[in-house]
Symmetry: C2
Subunit: 142 residues, 2 copies
DNA sequence: TCAACAGATTAGAACAATTCTAAAATGAAT
DNA sequence: ATTCATTTTAGAATTGTTCTAATCTGTTGA
């Protein structure tokens, strides 16, 4: 067994543990998708992940991709980012951070959470509490 | 001619002027929709405006509602608010301000622009400039 | 080891929001 | 009035997402 193969196996075991810890049965599809999501921070859509899976030779249905993205989000493994109507984006970076968004390219770039400070938020409407503060800095090519 | 009728007529003339100023031909439909949007600040969707028009006895097609909302947005008479994938919201308040958003009720509440201060935004990616900073304060009923 | 079953996956239908098409209507300019 | 570019429209088409109900699979415990 070569080194890279052994590394891959260990990553798979890790992934399976992480799924179990999240209360999700470690199925072939979930493990494969979790593997594709990987360790670096990424912004993906359901369709893009579905294409990626197909390209990687993992035949998983689009319905399962949607199910899995929502389950991962509920489990705190992903975060959903509302950027523009029409398409949902999921973020593998679940920590406190914000985004640059370029309408022209559709690209999403992280802004570290410790950089931005939002001040002066009024008390929320009676009977509600603040859940999260999302900042999207819309940028344009020049 | 009664007072209220005269007021309505003047508002209509105003609306027509404003459409002309925006470079839009003041058609029956555009004037009616602009009238419905009114002067108070509101958050609407295409479908909700379409229903409102129908209820007001103004038969305007859904396609025209979409066209008009986009044209008004382009002309700076409306602003599009990205809140959640799936439905577009338009805002008759085009000034600098932000929003509370309650996922449970779908309600959108204005936060005056002079209240919130966003600090520490990093320089935008090379070759781009900041267009707008959107803040959405997500709230939950408790 | 394997039977049994709850939970997961799937193809495809259904759905909701939006956009497109191309034909008919209309505002503006003669 | 006539003309013509612009606008409106009904309905089809497209897109992203969710639903359905049949099939499959991971887990459990004999
Ligand atoms: Mn969702
Ligand atoms: Mn739009
Ligand atoms: Zn991010
Ligand atoms: Zn607003």
């Amino acid at each position: 067994m070569r080194k890279s193969s052994k590394r891959k196996t260990m990553r798979l075991l890790d992934t399976i543990e992480r799924l179990r810890a999240a209360g999700l049965r470690p199925t072939r599809q979930r493990a494969a998708l979790a593997g594709l999501l990987g360790s670096e921070h990424r912004h993906i859509s359901a369709e893009s992940l579905h294409r990626e899976a197909a390209k990687a030779g993992v035949p998983v249905s689009l319905a399962t991709v949607y199910n899995t993205l929502h389950q991962f989000t509920e489990a705190g493994l992903l975060r959903e980012v509302a950027i523009s109507a029409g398409r949902s984006y999921f973020d593998t970076n679940t920590g406190d951070h914000q985004h640059f968004y370029c309408e022209e390219s559709g690209e999403l770039v992280d802004i570290p959470g410790n950089a931005i400070v939002v001040d002066g938020i009024p008390g929320p409407p009676k009977g509600t509490a603040i859940d999260r503060v999302d900042v999207v800095v819309r940028i344009r090519r020049n």
